[in-house]
């Protein structure tokens, strides 16, 4: 029988204090500039209590909810991606000694940060972390900085009860309730899974224990025992959340649809709308492309090499002498969506999209990945008729 506990809203402060006491850097959703972002959490007052969100294509607004929900919103503006994979970091520093005829020593910038506790991470973003583990850590060559930051992560996930109009995790099989284990590694997905229950006058969290570490935390917070009925109530909430989603991608056909669509006339159509602004790739929780930037002082004696997020939408991304290999916007959009929904599966054994909907919300032109996938499905004749997007 699963280990179910009940946490009161007032237990959140105890929980956060306990995590901090144990040396974790607690990271979770917080309100900044009228936007829910991922940031450092020192107490429950840092959480966006009573704040909801409205998301549509090219639209993001926060709103005041009529309850005190701590997690009453969908995907935050930014995922947890920058926690383990910052937008810019030093790969090495070098010093040149002119007296020795040009001589430099490379010094690795070692990551010695505290382990992270992800508090309130959504199923979509949690799956994105698991995908990044495959892309960045489970490789022949791994990203040593990512791997160092990821080690010892504690996950207190929150099942999503209020998807936005842009969400389509249910169709991707990545939410709104996280899978108990990472399908690639078989490891537990979370240490604790919370579902926020607000029903009339009652407001509490159903906590499902995923690991011994999670149990230990639940014990330390002195969470009361829950029942199978509580767990059933939690599952009802995510089932309703899944049923409320209107956007979808047919994950069973989309790989072959994209594979067959390289010469589709749809690319011209979408390129006429795409601004090449790179927003979609900056908010995508799985996009991992980076470039290198060399920074040196005026004397040329000290230099640093920085790894910086890059985007396949920028013209320079594919540049080799003579010009970029993907010069047109249609080729760049094709690269992005084909990678997400097709070639990612060939590379890593899963799709590269978790259905968080951020690329739809944050596209200034309102380009909708579900709509494009559905259109390509229709045009190729390979899509499922059930995969209608909300157009």
């Amino acid at each position: 029988m699963d280990d179910i506990r009940i946490l009161a809203p007032s237990d959140l402060d105890t929980l956060i204090a306990e995590l901090r006491e144990r040396g974790f850097r607690v990271v979770g959703p917080t309100l900044r500039d009228e936007t829910i972002v991922t940031g450092d959490i020192r107490s429950a007052s840092d959480l966006p209590r009573g704040i909801g969100d409205i998301q549509e294509a090219a639209t993001y607004r926060t709103r005041q909810r009529d309850d005190d929900a701590y997690f009453g919103f969908a995907a935050p503006a930014q995922s947890t991606k920058p926690v383990f994979f910052p937008s810019e970091e030093v790969v090495w520093r070098g010093k040149r000694d002119h007296d020795q005829g040009g001589h430099f020593t490379a010094e690795r910038d070692t990551a010695n940060a505290s382990p992270v506790a992800l508090l309130g991470v959504r199923s979509c973003d949690l799956r994105a972390v698991q995908i990044h583990d495959q892309v960045l850590a489970h490789r022949q060559f791994k990203d040593v900085h990512y791997t160092a930051r990821r080690d010892g992560t504690l996950v207190i996930a929150v099942a999503c009860g209020v998807p936005a109009a842009t969400c389509f995790c249910a169709s991707m099989g990545t939410g709104p309730r996280p899978a108990a284990t990472d399908p690639q590694t078989g490891q537990p997905s979370y240490d604790l899974l919370l579902t926020e229950v607000i029903d009339g006058d009652t407001h509490h969290f159903v906590a499902e224990v995923g690991t011994d570490a999670g149990r230990d935390i639940a014990d330390a917070v002195a969470a009361s025992k829950g029942t199978a009925k509580d767990q059933a109530q939690a599952i009802d909430i995510t089932n309703a959340a899944a049923a409320s989603q209107t956007r979808a991608i047919d994950r069973n056909t989309v790989h072959d649809v994209l594979r067959a669509s390289a010469e589709s006339s749809r690319w011209e159509d979408v390129a006429n709308r795409c601004l090449g602004c790179t927003n979609c790739t900056m908010v995508c929780p799985t996009c991992f492309c980076t470039t290198m930037s060399d920074v040196s002082d005026l004397a040329g004696e000290n230099a640093e090499r920085h790894r910086v997020w890059d985007s396949c939408f920028s013209a320079n991304f594919s540049y080799i002498h003579g010009g970029p290999t993907r010069e047109s916007l249609k080729a760049r959009y094709r690269q992005w969506i084909t990678h997400k929904l097709s070639s990612w599966e060939d590379q890593f054994g899963m799709l590269g999209c978790v259905g968080c909907g951020r690329c739809i919300t944050w596209c200034p032109a309102g380009i909708d990945i579900t709509e494009e996938a559905a259109a390509l499905g229709r045009m190729s004749g390979l899509g499922s008729t059930a995969s209608a997007a909300s157009t």
């Binding site: 005829g101 001589h103 980076t290 230099a303 594919s318 970029p324 590379q347």
Partner: protein, 304 residues
């Protein structure tokens, strides 16, 4: 998640990437220091950089692999290694690490203009290999143009090191003009001493030029080799490799016997930065050497 290290449980067999051999470096993103011993001018825009390690033994590599060469404070570029995989020079002495590069950008300019003694950063070797030994017992056709001969040179040296194990060996080489011919003296030596059938052509020639004028693909049609069993190793710009591979298959060489070396933008060399992707391939770790059976559908889509 706290119960196991993040890199535990690597079990996924579904993936196709990471074909290239790994490295024992604790962090493949941090370069090793090498000192420039010599910069040899090969043509008006092409130079060969000879490097010796500052600390530790010289790196070992296989034909087809590349390194990331770093000019301090300027940047880093992927360059194929053009030396002998046995680590020896023409006279059998230990050889410096050799890269032939075209002076076409900021980093390559900094590298070719650096005085001897200058230290540069080297990461690698990375990438897949020509594996010419697959052609043992059969004819071998090298098709290349311009500086494309440089990444093929280690493969040619692999064949010549065991010349008697192969059938006919052809080197079909094209360059823009007679002044752009790379390794000219060496090609003559291979022809004279190693029984290599070297055929050269130039795209454009000055008045009075006695050699052949035309594209390298035209050489394929006339070259004497057994297409059903021959292996072809092709390196050059894509605009040359595409018709070359097509001519080879047109003569009956199986696509699986044709290997090409692809060039893409690369920032990491280890399959992490995403720049070199060609549909499902990371050219740095699944290539640069790939067989034509795999590449043909990808090369035939513009801007893929």
């Amino acid at each position: 998640m706290t119960t196991a290290p993040v890199d535990a449980g690597i079990t996924d067999s579904a993936r196709v990437t990471d074909s290239a051999p790994g490295t024992d470096s604790p962090d493949p993103m941090v370069p090793r220091r090498y000192a420039i011993t010599k910069v040899r001018e090969d043509t008006r825009d092409t130079f060969t950089l000879l490097l010796e390690p500052v600390d530790g033994p010289p790196l070992t590599f296989r034909a087809g692999q590349f390194t990331m060469l770093h000019a301090f404070g300027v940047g880093e570029v992927p360059i194929s290694i053009s030396g002998d995989p046995r680590g020896l020079d023409d006279d059998g002495n230990p050889a410096p690490l050799e890269h032939t590069i075209r002076n076409v950008g900021a980093v390559t300019r900094a590298l070719v203009n650096a005085p001897p003694g200058t230290q540069v950063g080297v990461r690698g070797p990375f990438g897949t290999t020509w594996d010419v030994a697959d052609a043992v017992g059969n004819d071998v056709v090298f098709v290349t143009g311009g500086i494309g001969l440089a990444p093929l040179r280690p493969a040619i040296l692999d064949v010549l090191a065991e010349r008697e194990r192969y059938g006919k060996v052809l080197l079909l080489y094209g360059s823009r003009t007679p002044d752009d011919i790379l390794y000219g003296a060496q090609m003559r030596r291979w022809a004279d001493l190693n029984d290599v059938n070297v055929q050269r052509t130039v795209d454009n020639a000055p008045y009075g030029y006695k050699g052949r004028v035309g594209y390298v693909t035209e050489l394929i049609a006339r070259a004497g080799f057994d297409p059903r069993s021959a292996w072809a190793f092709v390196c050059g710009p894509e605009a040359m490799m595409r018709p070359a591979a097509s001519s080879l298959t047109g003569r009956g060489v199986p696509a699986s016997h044709i290997r090409l070396s692809m060039e893409r933008s690369m920032k990491c060399g280890i399959g992490l930065c995403g720049h070199c992707q060609l549909r499902e391939l990371f050219i740095c770790v699944d290539g640069p050497v790939l067989d034509y059976a795999r590449l043909e559908p990808l090369m035939n889509v513009r801007e893929l």
